[in-house]
Symmetry: C2
């Protein structure tokens, strides 16, 4: 094989993968937005077949040979092609290490498990979910055996991060955040009842348009839709969609979901043209992606300068609801820290403890130290220990998240890592430039510019660990703990 | 090969084709509805690759062998499988008769031609479009040579219909309709100015919801969206989407587009479960599809009993706009027959003459009797001859339709055939049952029931000609001419 020929094949393979991804994304987008209610079956048939075709395309022996050939010639490749070959070779090895029949069996299991989980959650009946979860765990234990087991749990979502790294991270959080939360528990809570006045969806939609503008999201390349659960979906760096959900009795839900998803969108839209239609397009890892969404949502969006900057305009969108509220009151309300049961509704401070519970349980499940039947008890015990609250039932307990039913073990830590990365980025950003002057005028262009240069533009051109190093320096979870301690000490007068 | 094995492969092949179709449909739907404005490029890349993959899948030699094997064993197959093998074998032969390089070249040409046509139309500059159209015609002449040339022009859209069949059809129309239009030209036209009062989009949306209900379209399986040009898109018999466009200065546009697309949707939703995810799913031909949309739109939707049935409710949706209008006035206004320039805006009577012009030109182009450079003159001469009007420019003349730029030669006659089939269906329906009693009460369930049994349920299980025979009897264009003559003689007092 000539090198040029191999590179042409490499480009073609990646464009095909892009096309399959775009097809599946489009069907997913449709299914969660405008599709008629009773149409999931036919979409499921199409999605299943496309996934199978994509798997067949990528797992073919010729692909392995092509990638090996390119890897042998890696010294003759430019960075772009070397990284493509490296990434694809790793994915290929990961995919083909799992025997095809096990892969298909697992795909069918995760498909079935989603339905079972939904029914179990509705009924709050863990026993209904238990047999499926046992199978899922058994598969993941077996899969872990095909890789380096110390890295397996997170390998898929956060390459370069292993159990030792996470243990240290969560130990720091446990040590620093748990006492902070207990101290806040002694203090008086701010009034946040005005967040739950009636905020008509139509006014919230207009407010979202304004937030998109503040975030600098170009509507010709990024639209906002409505779904039950907010998400960001990227086709390429010219075509990103975010969604939100309007709760008429809670203005902060859609507000912060738009800023959060907007952060994901900024990342995707900021990725360089060079890597489009290749495996390097798209954010480099879940953790880095969450660092961006949480940067906009929490570090900027829940900062005092930002709230003060946009609050007067917000009062124009909601004059009746917010006329008797000050920016200071609003700032305190959206930063109220209080242990709660549901991860997705948790505040910035307590959120990472929800993740810690899940991380502990996943680690023990995959290492075989915890039996699936004991998950509810362990869950409830850890919620008491970390968050100081009693879990009344499994629906609001260990059945609340969809992740395990989809086979996503090891996904949760990325959420918390993202927050920690973000805190380090902010520290570096503050060293490099005046962050808060422009933000206090509602101008996020400098913030976005910094993130664009340090994170966004690379896409997958750098390894996740190198993007983190580039924007954060050496990973140091105490920076995140310092940030939280400072912010919440001020807020609660500790 | 065992027969069972072959049947399993047949099912798998068709499910894959379904998945590719669903993927492309979903991307198309997205692109025409919610996608951000400047995102066509990435979608184009995905659509092009998916089309290529689908082509590769279906044109593989193993598919030819499989289909030949099944055809050899056709006596052992049930009707469902025999028809699948027959249909796919025909498509396979049609596809593989064209050399792969010519097929790809043609695909790229039609892709490019769309843009060129749009620019040419904007500028009203036929010369800009001419070189591309010449290439398209040359390809189609060459392709026709690969088939039976007397059937080639329509073969793709209306199997069983050949040039002799169409010549007779259009000769009848020319003989009967042209004089009728000239006679109407001498008569006074009804006032239809009230159709162009201001009708807010929001009220039109609610009116569309009502029309969907009248049509008996189950919203759990069929939604209505908004696009520049209305269309119907089917994923399967449980998932169909229609779109419309709300012109605030013209209430009849969206009203009749909803009824028209609703007719297409009724067809798709009425197809039997047996043929889903096979090549027999979906309407059997363009002509039969148009027979259904036009049946609902014109034969029912523009009938006096239907207008009288829904007009009181319509006045509730548009109280200010329609308070001084009677059902009789409304009926006359939506049936105003007047030669005009634009096909898509033409009335029921003059519409088929627009088609006749295009048919004449296509026939002469493909037979080599007309040079592309002479299309505008021929177009203008025929519009004068059939419709009695002068074409002021090519934008409103031979550049108005997108069909040729997409390589769709021979598509137009299906529109007119559909109307003619519909008239014969109505005649048979009136013989079988009381059509107008229920319609005059706004109840279309019996009409839909008849069409469901005679047309819808079969999908592609019968040949197009057999569906036509089943619902119409022997094709007889004089029935359509009789219908038009009777309706318009009454309307205009001839």
């Amino acid at each position: 094989m000539e090198l040029n020929e191999a590179l042409a094949k490499l480009a073609e393979l990646q464009k095909k993968m892009y096309a399959y991804n775009a097809a599946s994304s489009s069907l997913y987008l449709d299914g969660t937005t405008v599709a008629p209610k009773d149409t999931a079956e036919g979409r499921g048939v199409a999605l299943g077949i496309l996934a199978g075709e994509q798997h067949k395309l990528f797992s073919a022996p010729e692909v392995g040979e092509l990638l090996d050939f390119l890897w042998e010639h890696r010294d003759e490749l430019d960075q772009l092609h070397r990284r493509q070959a490296e990434e694809l070779r790793r994915s290929y090895a990961q995919l083909t290490r799992i025997p095809a029949d096990e892969y298909m069996e697992y795909a069918m299991l995760t498909n079935e498990a989603g339905d079972v989980w939904r029914r179990a959650k509705e009924k709050g009946d863990f026993e209904l979910f238990r047999p499926v979860l046992e199978k899922l765990v058994a598969f993941n234990i077996k899969f872990a055996g095909y890789y380096d087991s110390s890295k397996a749990l997170l390998n898929e979502y956060e390459r370069g991060v292993d159990t030792a790294y996470l243990d240290e991270f969560f130990a720091t959080l446990r040590e620093r955040i748990v006492p902070l939360i207990h101290a806040i528990g002694e203090k008086e809570q701010p009034d946040d009842s005005f967040l739950r006045r009636h905020y008509p969806a139509e006014a919230q939609r207009r407010f979202s348009d304004y937030l998109m503008e503040v975030l600098g999201l170009d509507r010709a390349h990024c639209t906002i839709g409505e779904t039950e659960h907010p998400y960001t979906l990227e086709f390429n760096n010219k075509d990103v969609r975010i969604t939100t959900h309007y709760d008429e009795d809670n203005v902060s839900f859609s507000m912060y979901s738009v800023i959060h998803e907007g952060g994901h969108a900024k990342y995707e839209l900021g990725i360089s043209d060079d890597v489009q239609y290749t495996c390097l397009a798209g954010g480099v890892s879940m953790g880095v992606h969450e660092s961006q969404s949480r940067f906009y949502e929490n570090l900027i969006g829940r900062s005092k300068p930002f709230v003060e900057a946009i609050f007067p305009r917000m009062q124009e969108f909601f004059p009746e609801q917010l006329q008797d509220v000050t920016a200071e009151q609003f700032y305190r309300a959206v930063n109220k820290a209080q242990p709660s049961l549901i991860r997705t509704e948790a505040d910035e401070l307590t959120y990472c403890l929800h993740i810690m519970v899940r991380y502990e349980i996943e680690k023990q499940l995959i290492s075989g130290k915890l039996a699936v039947k004991d998950v509810p008890d362990t869950w409830n015990r850890l919620y008491k220990e970390y968050l100081g609250i009693d879990v009344p039932n499994d629906r609001q307990g260990c059945l609340q998240d969809s992740h395990w039913s989809g086979g996503s073990f090891g996904y949760f830590p990325s959420y918390a890592l993202g927050s920690a990365y973000g805190a380090q980025m902010l520290k570096n950003m503050e060293r490099d430039m005046d962050v808060w002057g422009p933000v206090s005028r509602g101008d996020l262009s400098q913030v976005s510019g910094w993130l664009g240069e340090k994170v966004h533009k690379f896409g997958g051109l750098l390894e996740p660990a190198d993007v983190v190093k580039n924007a954060c320096g050496q990973f140091d979870p105490t920076v995140f703990a310092d940030y939280l301690e400072k912010k919440y000490s001020q807020l609660y007068g500790l």
